[in-house]
Every structure is written in C-alpha cells, then in structure tokens.
C-alpha cells in the first residue's frame, strides 16, 4: 500500500494549500494622498443650505507660539509617540480624505437596512416605524429612494461644512502641527493645508449626526466610528485638539441645518396608507385605463413609497417639469414590440447580457443604484486626487441630482401606474425579482442617467465611460425581464434632465 500512501499525502498537501484563501476586500483600498489642488478659495464657493460661510461660528484660535498652542502641540506629540497599533491602523484607515470612508459607511448601512418587510401570518405586511425603529421591520427600510435621499443629505452637510472649514482655514491660516513642530510627523502626504478648524472633524461629526438620524439603531456604532476618527486626526499629526474642537462645532451645526430640512421634506408621508394608495391607483385608472398591481403572494396592497414623488427636490423646480409623456398602452403595437423583446431575452439571454443584468441588479441587501454610483465617484475622486472640499462638491451635486431623479421618477411611476412585465405577459418568468412599484419610468435608468451626467461634468475625461454605464444599467432591467425598453428610455432622459439642474447650479458656484 505504500505507494498509495504517497498519493494520499500529496492530495492532503493540495488541500492544505487551497485552504490559504486570499482576503476578500471589504472596503476601498486607498491611502492618504497629495491633493492635486488645495482649493484655497473654496471658502467663497456657493453654499447649498447655508447663507453665510461663517454662519456657524468658532472661537478665534490661539496664536502661534502661545502657551495654549504649545501645550496642544506637546500633547499631540505625546499622543503620536504613544499611539497604539489600533490607533495607527485607524490613521491609515481614515486617510486625509475621510469623506470617502464616511460615504462607504453610509453605503454599508444602506445595504444592511435594505431588506423588504416579510408578510405577517395573516397575509398583511408590516411597515417600519421611525418612532420604534427596533421593532420588526426595523427602521429604516433603505430602499433606493430612501438611500438616495440619505446620501443627498449626508453629502450636502459635508459640503457646506467643508466650505465653512475652508473659509476659516484661510482666514486664520494656522499651520499644521507637523509644520509648527518638526518633531510631529504627518502620517499622510504633507499637503500644507491650514489646520484650523479640522476638516476631518467637520466630516466626522456632520456624518455621524446625519447618519444617526437616518439609521437610528446605529447610533452607538456611528459614535464609536466618529470617536476613532477624531482621535486619529491628532495621532496622524495633522491637527491639534483645538482644530478638532472647532471642526466639531461646524460639523454639528451643518448637520442640524440639514436634518431640519430632512424633517420637513415630505419623506415621512411617502409610504402611504392603503386608502391613499388606492386613490392614487384609481386616479391612474381613470386617466389611462390601466393600473399596476403587485404580483407577490400574499399581495402587497401598497407599493413602495407612493408619495416619494412629492418629496422636496433639491434643484429640479418641480417634478412636472421633467415628467415624460405617457407610455404606450398595454396591447398597443409599440407595447407588443417591447413585450416581444422581453420574451426573446427570456428565451435566450447571452452570457454577457446575464452578467449585465446581475452586475447592475443592486437589489435587496445591496447599496442600490445610488450607492453603486457613489462607489464610482469615490474611485474617481481618488484617481483625480481631489481635495476634501472638492470631493464633497462632487458628492453633493451627484447625490442631489440622483435624489431629484428618484423623486421625479417616482412621480412618473405613480402618476402613470404602469404594470410590470410579469403582470402584462402571461406566464412570464424573470431572472431578477420584480420590485414593488410601477414600471414607468425605470428607477435604474433615471438614477443612472442623472449620475452619469454629473460624473461626466466633473470628470469629463471619462464622460463616455459614465454614459456607457448608464446605458448598461438601463438595459440591465430589460435583460432581467422587469422593465420594458420604453421604461428605460424615458428613465434615462428623465435622469439626464434632473441632472441638468444640478449641473447648471454647479457651474455657477465659483469652484471652476
């Protein structure tokens, strides 16, 4: 038997080798970097929700050479020299453009809470209750509209906060600790950015506060993340404690302003009662003669956020301005053509078409299409080495456009109340789950059309790529069997129109 023993030994070794799995990435792999431009005049850029770049006041900083500042520098030096390995890891994690990390945390929470309520035993469906967020189904259900709105508020708070931070940085011109004291080392590239107030602290607190309001059950997690981030600023050698304190004041202030807007934007009425939902449905039936009905068992009697179309927009003046004309009536020749196309794909989908359908699915328990585009923006920001404030600008205009596109799309969805393919095509089977809202226009197309245009504006070198992705995201829903081609076409146009309002505003904000 001896020779067999060798064979088995060899196989054992093979098994041992394959068990050394590679580590799979759980975050974007980037480090602190040299900013392409410090954007010295960003304090003059146009604010989004605030009227003055010193609207949130901070104390005058202690002068260079003062005993107070020397003590802070000594304290920073000690913290840096005594940093634990966990603190050093935190410094590497947060980087000198930590907005990207907070955006990533926001996407993670959006993913975690993007779970559709399961039916009750009696066949009804429960609804998340913001007043009792831990009761099943947990609040929030971070579906695409919710996520788009969450990201817009987060990004706007970050942007206004950094404009104010830049205003004060260039007003007080306090040098960074590593410049004032050669014994303090910067953990990142030495950008020479003035340190009072800390832009990192603005981001930490603004993000913590906005996200805590959006994901109340994550309060402790977010507080712990913010604390770790704040500590890292001093350990990294880029801020002293008074920089951090001042940054926190601004962060808290802008979050308060933004959350006041969120409290009154109409989102709390978006998920309607059955009675209201039926009246919306009946209005569409009277108007057009067709109506969308949820096809699940048990049937969901109320679609997803029927009144999201009434939520306050950021830059689109009113949703009617970009509401498309009606879709072709079911059984019209144009409809029949679209339905035949769907059946053809269902019968024979190529490997690449299937890949596109799945790549862009961004369904339950994912970061949704808005999150997908935020991920692209993050990668583009690092590739272009944008400063924190210019990064915030990209995300703010991107997410305002995405949210506006979503609001306009939802207006069309419930105005037209158009049935999905599984409702109109008998026996139709799909490879993607059909969402709980009407078909026309496609949310994927609208979100992506808007996102691609804003990205193309800020990163013109890759404009063609972004637009190709938007087209692909739109087609993905047709390959998946859950949208007609006219949903996608109208959605793309609608998204692009929504983006035009944000882009027009960005062009006048003083940054270019």
């Amino acid at each position: 038997m001896k020779k067999y023993n060798y064979i088995f030994l060899a196989l054992f070794l093979l098994i041992g080798m394959t068990s050394c799995m590679e580590d799979l990435p759980t975050k974007y792999d980037y480090t602190g970097y040299q900013f392409a431009n410090l954007d010295a005049n960003a304090g003059q850029w146009k604010l989004l929700l605030h009227t003055s770049n010193e609207q949130i006041s901070i104390p005058n900083p202690a002068a260079a050479g003062s005993a107070e500042l020397l003590k802070e520098l000594a304290d920073a030096k000690e913290k840096q020299s005594k940093a634990t390995s966990a603190q050093r890891e935190a410094v590497a994690y947060w980087t000198n453009n930590p907005l990207l990390r907070w955006n990533e945390i926001a996407l993670e929470l959006a993913t975690k809470y993007n779970l559709i309520p399961a039916p009750n035993p009696d066949g009804s469906y429960p609804v998340p209750d913001p007043a009792n967020p831990s009761k099943y189904p947990k609040f929030p259900y971070s579906h695409p509209p919710y996520t788009s709105r969450m990201l817009a508020h987060l990004s706007v708070a970050q942007y206004d906060g950094l404009i104010m931070a830049w205003q004060y940085k260039y007003k007080f011109k306090r040098q960074a600790p590593y410049q004032m004291d050669p014994q303090i080392k910067s953990s990142y590239e030495k950008n020479g950015l003035f340190s009072y107030p800390s832009d990192g602290a603005v981001i930490a607190i603004a993000s913590r506060d906005v996200l805590t309001a959006m994901f109340p059950l994550e309060k402790d997690f977010l507080a712990q993340k913010a604390q770790e981030h704040l500590e890292s600023l001093v350990v990294a050698g880029i801020n002293v404690s008074s920089d951090v304190d001042a940054g926190q004041l601004i962060g808290a202030g802008v979050a308060k302003t933004v959350l006041a807007r969120a409290a009154t934007d109409g989102m709390k009425n978006a998920q309607t009662t059955r009675v209201k939902s039926d009246s919306i449905k009946n209005a569409a039936k009277d108007r057009f003669g067709w109506v969308w009905e949820n096809q699940e068992t048990p049937q969901r009697m109320v679609g997803l956020v029927p009144l999201f179309g009434k939520v306050r927009t950021w830059n689109v003046p009113n949703v009617e301005a970009i509401r498309p004309g009606p879709p072709p009536a079911p059984n019209s020749p144009e409809f029949q053509k679209a339905a035949a196309e769907l059946k053809a794909y269902a019968d024979k989908l190529t490997t690449n078409q299937r890949r596109i359908a799945n790549f862009w699915n961004d369904g339950l328990n994912t970061y949704t299409p808005p999150g997908h585009w935020n991920r692209f923006a993050k990668e583009e920001v690092v590739a272009n080495k944008l400063s924190p404030v210019r990064t915030a600008r990209v995300f703010a205009y991107l997410n305002m456009a995405i949210a506006d596109a979503g609001i306009a799309c939802w207006d069309a969805k419930y105005y037209y109340h158009y049935p999905r393919p599984i409702q109109t095509i008998s026996g139709f089977k799909t490879i993607l789950g059909t969402p709980n809202f009407p078909a026309y226009t496609s949310g994927h197309a609208s979100f992506s059309g808007a996102a691609a245009e804003v990205m193309a504006h800020f990163f013109p070198a890759n404009a063609a790529q972004f637009r190709t992705w938007a087209e692909e995201a739109s087609m993905s829903r047709i390959y998946g069997g859950i949208h007609y081609s006219f949903d996608a076409t109208a959605g793309l146009t609608q998204g692009r129109q929504a983006a035009a309002f944000s882009i027009a505003k960005a062009k006048l904000d003083g940054a270019d």
């Binding site: 067999y4 068990s19 759980t26 890949r355 339950l364 994912t366 089977k429 799909t430």
Partner: protein, 339 residues
C-alpha cells in the same frame, strides 16, 4: 457512506439534491472474488454532485476489482416548500414548492483491487411552483474521486475494513452560483477527504461510519459588491468549507442480492453568514443540516450485471437551506472490462 460529495452546495436553500447518491461502492462482483473484497462496502465518492450521497449504489459494498467497471445512472428528485432562514423556518408563497432534479451518470473503475476511481457529471434542473423567478437547468460539476482500501481485518464473527477517499470537483459549465436557490451548484472547486470504517458480520449486517472534510474554494458572482455580515467589494465569494459525518446500519439479504440501509447524516459548514430576512440565499451562507435516509439496492444476480437502487431522504433539521425530502432511483451495470 456514501459518497459524498458535494453535498449541498450551493444552494443552500436548496440543497436538495443529495441524493444522489451514487456511491460507488461496488459490489457484486465481488462475490466472485471471494476473498477479501467481499462486502467491503464502502464508499465512494461521488463527486460532483451536490450531494452527499449515500447510498451507494452501484456497487456497493465493495471495491471493484481491477479491470471491472460499473456504470450507473441515477435520478433524484428533492423538493421543499419551507426553508430555514438562519435557523428559523420560512414559508415563501412566491416559491411554493421548490424542486431540484438531478440526472447523474457515473462510472466507477477498479484501477487495482484496492484502488477505485469514480467519475461523475450530473445534469441538474431546478424550478419553483409559484412566483415568477425562472428556474435553470444544465450541467453542474465534473467530479473525480479516488477511493482506496487501507485496512482489512477479521475480528470476531465479522470483518473490519477501512477506506479513505479523495475527491475533486469543478464546475463543468458557466452556470451562475449566485442565483439561489435556483443555481445548479455552488460554483466552486471542492477538494474532499474522507475516512470510512465498516464492520460487517459474516451474517450480512453491518455498521458503517464515515467522516469527511470538504474544502470549497471561491465562486465568482456577476456582481462585484455583496453583503455577508458586512460589505464585500469583489465578485469573489468564499464558499464555506464543511464537515460531513454519517452513520449507517445495513444488512445484506436474499443471499446477497439485496442490501438495505438506514443512515443519519450531519453536515456542518465551518463558517458563513445567515440568509437575511426574507431575502435570497447566497453562496457565502452557512449551510447545516441533519438528514435521515433509507436506501436499497437489488442485484439480479450475484456476479455483476444489472442492479437497481432506490432511496429516500429527509432533512430533520437545518440552517440556511430547504427542509427537503426526496427520492431517487437508478440503474447500475457492472462488467469486466479487462482481464
């Protein structure tokens, strides 16, 4: 034990298929050989299939002697209408009754009297009776397994035998594993190693115990972001490794033309996340289950030739998989290919 192999896989929720069984055990013919190999039953592995098979089918109980070949074709059908979401039972009327059917051709050959090779290539079909999600069908995984007789000793009024088995399987088509519960398999390579011990009385009754470690690799999704107790920014999904134990009692009857068995199987993933509430399963899930099964094999003669097999299985507990039950039947044919 049977053979095993892929047990479940991917599909978590689906699991189903097991049954498959084919084990390879070879059989019969052995009588002719009279000597050692009589009744060694053992296992084989089937690789490739999603299953753990158990029953050995074809060949049962013995190693195939050098130059013998056994061809088997087995059909299995497993269904469920409830599944474990984590450890909580969930009924989803948008799935209704889920069915997984497997056609598994298998070839077992005796390389020597103590080493057998088993090849398998199952064809799988899945579908749900309700809802609008499309089922799939196609070739699943190619499996190859080597089984060796390592120990053989007479003790009391019976004989103790010990085997080891090494298996490898790999997807044989570009099926998408990240489409559960419909996906054909878990979409990753698997290396398995098993130890099998059997004690058989001269009168025909036997007890068999086996233990397996299944090392599963990475499967490739078509999305590059997913959530598994946290975000993953990659299309690669780590399919959990698994431990598989089985205890079987059985006996030969009718002058060794009939063999019947009952077994208890336990399958435990060594890592993985739970299915999210009311969501689709995914290849990263921790799949566990305990199963009972019955198996019978009948040979028309005692020296090779045609055999029939039938099996029944049922899950008695589980995690992140369907509460399955099902049956299987098949044909085996054994002949001497080389002198």
């Amino acid at each position: 034990m049977g053979s095993t192999f892929r047990d479940v896989a991917p599909t978590q929720v689906e699991i189903l298929d097991w049954t498959c069984v084919f084990s390879f055990l070879f059989t019969s013919h052995l009588f002719a050989m009279k000597n050692y190999f009589r009744f060694l039953g053992l296992l084989g592995a089937s690789l490739g299939t999603i299953t753990i098979a158990q029953a050995q089918t074809p060949l049962d109980g013995l190693m195939m002697p050098k130059g013998e070949i056994c061809i088997a074709l087995q059909y299995d059908q497993v269904t469920w209408d409830r599944y474990w979401e984590g450890s909580t039972i969930r009924v989803n009327q948008n799935i209704g009754t889920f069915t997984r059917q497997t056609d598994m051709p298998m070839i077992v050959g005796g390389i020597t009297d103590k080493v057998n090779v088993i090849l398998s290539l199952p064809y799988v079909k899945t579908g749900a009776s309700a809802g609008q999600m499309a089922g799939v069908q196609g070739i699943q995984d190619f499996g190859i397994s080597v089984k060796a007789l390592l120990l053989e000793k007479s003790i009391g009024k019976g004989k103790l035998t010990g085997f080891s088995n090494l298996s490898f399987s790999t997807p044989a088509s570009n099926y998408l594993s990240d489409y559960m519960p419909f996906s054909l398999g878990f979409g990753a390579k698997e290396l398995g190693i098993r130890a099998i011990g059997k004690y058989e009385l001269d009168k025909g009754a036997y007890l068999r115990v086996s233990y397996s470690f299944l090392n599963r690799g990475i499967t490739e999704a078509e999305r590059d972001f997913y959530y598994a107790d946290g975000s993953f920014y990659t299309s690669k999904m780590d399919v959990p490794n698994a431990l598989l134990g089985q205890v079987t009692v059985g006996s030969w009857m009718m002058k060794k033309k009939l063999r019947v068995e009952a077994s208890l199987t336990t399958f435990q993933s060594t890592s993985g996340d739970d299915i999210q509430v009311y969501s689709m399963p995914q290849p990263t899930n921790k799949v566990d289950f305990d199963r009972i099964e019955g198996f019978a094999q009948y040979y028309f003669r005692t020296n090779g030739g045609l055999g029939l097999i039938a099996s029944y299985q049922q899950a008695i507990s589980g995690r992140n998989m369907g509460q399955f039950s099902g049956y299987g039947f098949g044909l085996t044919y054994q002949f001497k290919a080389l002198q």
